[in-house]
């Protein structure tokens, strides 16, 4: 069994995570307002892959169509979509991105429902449960985010959606040891083996996509 950290967003965080995990995916955040320059993006992905091997692009956008474009044209990186905008999330799930990170992100509700969860399961789109938004929040927000994560876990569990636990760390101070990250999963409702699988079995399934491509 391997420990896999699916979403690490800076070099220092990557180096910290590498000490504790067998595999680490480096995530590049991309704010998209319009079509990116795909030549540039492809060459950036290429150089990131040389450095980090496993690379993901986290798309942050209000425009569903841009998700499809990136999904179609980028093949050597995982495609994650930032949760929070329901239209974007639905479109991303329909277009079979690899994962939605934090469906509840920035929302006043949990940002996921049974229709989306069922579709995510069918389309093999994972839901990422991320620690870092909790770490940056005040107590009031933490209670709310945790509440939404508990609700989303119930859906993910019920509809057998692929899932993973991640720090989504932007700095080394947000990285956590796998067994500690498991405690987030356990406290939002996972059984211990489910929490473990969210840092090993499910991530490994997603990483297999790299070999195919």
């Amino acid at each position: 069994m391997k420990w896999v950290e699916m979403d690490i967003r800076s070099e220092e965080a990557y180096n910290q995570a590498k000490e504790w995990y067998d595999e680490v995916v480096f995530t590049k955040k991309i704010y998209l307002k319009s079509s990116p320059n795909f030549e540039e993006l492809k060459s950036e992905v290429k150089s990131l892959r040389e450095k980090y091997e496993k690379v993901a692009l986290l798309l942050i956008t209000e425009k569903p169509s841009l998700v499809r474009e990136v999904r179609k044209r980028i093949s050597n990186a995982l495609i994650y979509v930032q949760g929070g905008n329901l239209r974007v999330v639905r479109f991303a799930i329909e277009n079979k991105v690899d994962a939605i990170i934090s469906p509840e992100y920035g929302r006043k509700d949990s940002g996921l429902d049974h229709v989306l969860a069922r579709l995510a399961a069918r389309n093999d789109v994972a839901i990422g449960f991320a620690l870092s938004p909790l770490l940056r929040a005040n107590s009031y927000e933490r209670a709310n985010i945790l509440k939404f994560m508990m609700r989303n876990w119930r859906l993910v569990d019920k509809y057998k959606v692929p899932r993973f636990l991640t720090s989504s760390a932007e700095s080394k101070w947000e990285v956590r040891f796998p067994r500690d990250l498991m405690s987030l999963g356990i406290n939002i409702g996972m059984e211990i083996p489910q929490a473990k699988a969210s840092l090993s079995f499910y991530p490994e399934m997603i990483l297999k996509k790299f070999k195919k491509s």
Binding site: N85, L86, R87, D109, S110, G111, L112, D113, H114, V115, L116, S139, Y140, R142, A143, N144, I145, L146, K147, M150, R151, R154, L155, K158, N187
Partner: protein, 120 residues
């Protein structure tokens, strides 16, 4: 306008309870003070994790009669009641939060426990 997630099917929906309460204070409190007091009481007594589980949610407060309604998860009514019992002051003024009763629907809660305070 932002979209909202669909209402979940009954088996997946959160099961709530509604608690009617009365505030007895040195002075009358307004809605925002009460709302904040409920959150603070929950965070202090139950913590961030406990509050996420108990899911307290401010519904309504009538300033004239100093009575109101708060919602929580069905399994954790006693935890929230205890958090309210531990309140000794609201926004700097002495206060007691007394629960009047608990029900599964707002309608029945009003009928059984808030009618005498003039709620409709």
């Amino acid at each position: 306008m932002r979209e909202k997630p669909k209402t979940l099917p009954p088996t997946l929906r959160d099961k709530h309870r509604y608690i009617a309460f009365q505030v007895i204070g040195e002075r009358p409190f307004n809605k925002d003070e009460i709302k904040k007091a409920l959150w603070n009481a929950s965070l202090k007594t139950l913590g961030e994790l406990g509050t996420a589980r108990v899911k307290p949610w401010f519904i309504k407060f009538d300033e004239k009669t100093q009575t109101g309604i708060v919602r929580c998860d069905r399994k954790y009514v006693e935890e929230l009641r205890f958090a309210l019992t531990m309140v000794t002051e609201i926004n700097g003024s002495k206060a007691i939060i007394r629960t009047l009763g608990v029900s599964g629907t707002i309608k029945r809660l009003k009928l059984k426990f808030l009618k005498e305070f003039g709620w409709k």
